[in-house]
Symmetry: D2
Subunit: 122 residues, 4 copies
């Protein structure tokens, strides 16, 4: 048996935060990147994602050591999930959520997770 419930600000904030990480990942993975261009790419991902409604902040770090190691003879590689550490904060009504995309070496997987959910009280 299931019990249906009303949808809260918190629910919507979490849903929106998931959309932002899923979209960002599939939009930018595959982009050619080098140690010379990674800062520019970080800023571009941050500012593109921050255009969307409800996004309070975005912080993107591309691991330069992994880019260097993955680089081919032409000194660049494709951006992959293993290189990314992304933090996004989304606000929806009274709810604020902090989510993160970070490669987990043990899982060999770019894990997306909820780090914090807060209720904004006035």
């Amino acid at each position: 048996m299931t019990k249906k419930e009303a949808i809260s600000d918190r629910d919507n904030a979490l849903f929106e935060a998931g959309i932002k990480l899923g979209a960002l990942y599939h939009q930018f993975i595959g982009t050619p990147v080098s140690t010379e261009t990674l800062e520019l790419l970080e800023r571009t991902i941050e500012r593109s994602v921050a255009l969307q409604p409800g996004v309070k902040s975005v912080e993107v770090i591309i691991n330069s050591e992994k880019v260097r190691l993955a680089a081919n003879q032409f000194k660049y590689c494709e951006l992959s999930g293993a290189m990314l550490d992304v933090k996004v904060v989304v606000v929806y009504g009274q709810a604020e959520v902090h989510v993160r995309l970070k490669y987990e070496a043990e899982l060999e997987y770019p894990l997306m997770r909820v780090e914090k959910v807060s209720e904004v009280t006035s």
Copy 2:
């Protein structure tokens, strides 16, 4: 002031559901499609998304009338958000959420929204 709270199954289910819709959108938008290939593309999106953990069901409808209208002289177009109606059900622990991506004509926007959240009681 903010009050931090524990993260529930419901929170994670909503976050995961958002990830699935955001990822799907940016993965498949831009794919060449015609009225001849849209059913194949629908099934492929459904089965690809359903591979991911926690996805209970996926239903993808590509609007054939919109594909026909958008088709160029070569009888195909690129898949766009306006053509999509996608329903995904995600389960995480005791929580089940139903989410949807559907173009809203008034907003001129492919809206993603939470349609239902249920607690699975035994």
Copy 3:
């Protein structure tokens, strides 16, 4: 010094063939895939690419052994260049070109190359 020259059918056929491979690669890389869904994904890529003008044939093989090896605990992985072997034949006017995308183990690189150029004589 450079010498400018007229653009031939052969030139255009090669240019178009490059477009098709470059587009296909960045469109489909990242799609969730398993040994269960790879045939469906192969057919979908083939039929999507074949919609475009000038494409005479497309053959996509996704290496099932590599998919199996790359699969995570949930038995799927993301489609990567290393898994793909794609042959496309493009015709433009009197010219026909055969191109291929295939992972080269020595180069650790999904190489795109021209395999054959023919002049279609009547």
Copy 4:
């Protein structure tokens, strides 16, 4: 009957130029963009594409008027082919080719075409 021919620098230059435009298009289409971020996005696309071997120059112009018109209530839109004017110069051996992606209003189509092929003589 077809007559097979050897593959020249010119052939390879055209093929590579096509790959670059096809890849660029499907990599960046869909990125959120506003009149505030379009210059940053232009530079990022240029520098990302220029990392690849054989690319002599890349010039990307995103039409700010079209971005403004396409913007939703949140003042951003998704990057589309209609907004792009991209020029790429590729060199392969003794051949240099100039290609362009530009929206053609009459065709309602983001056309990719070869603008010039030169033989580099010493």
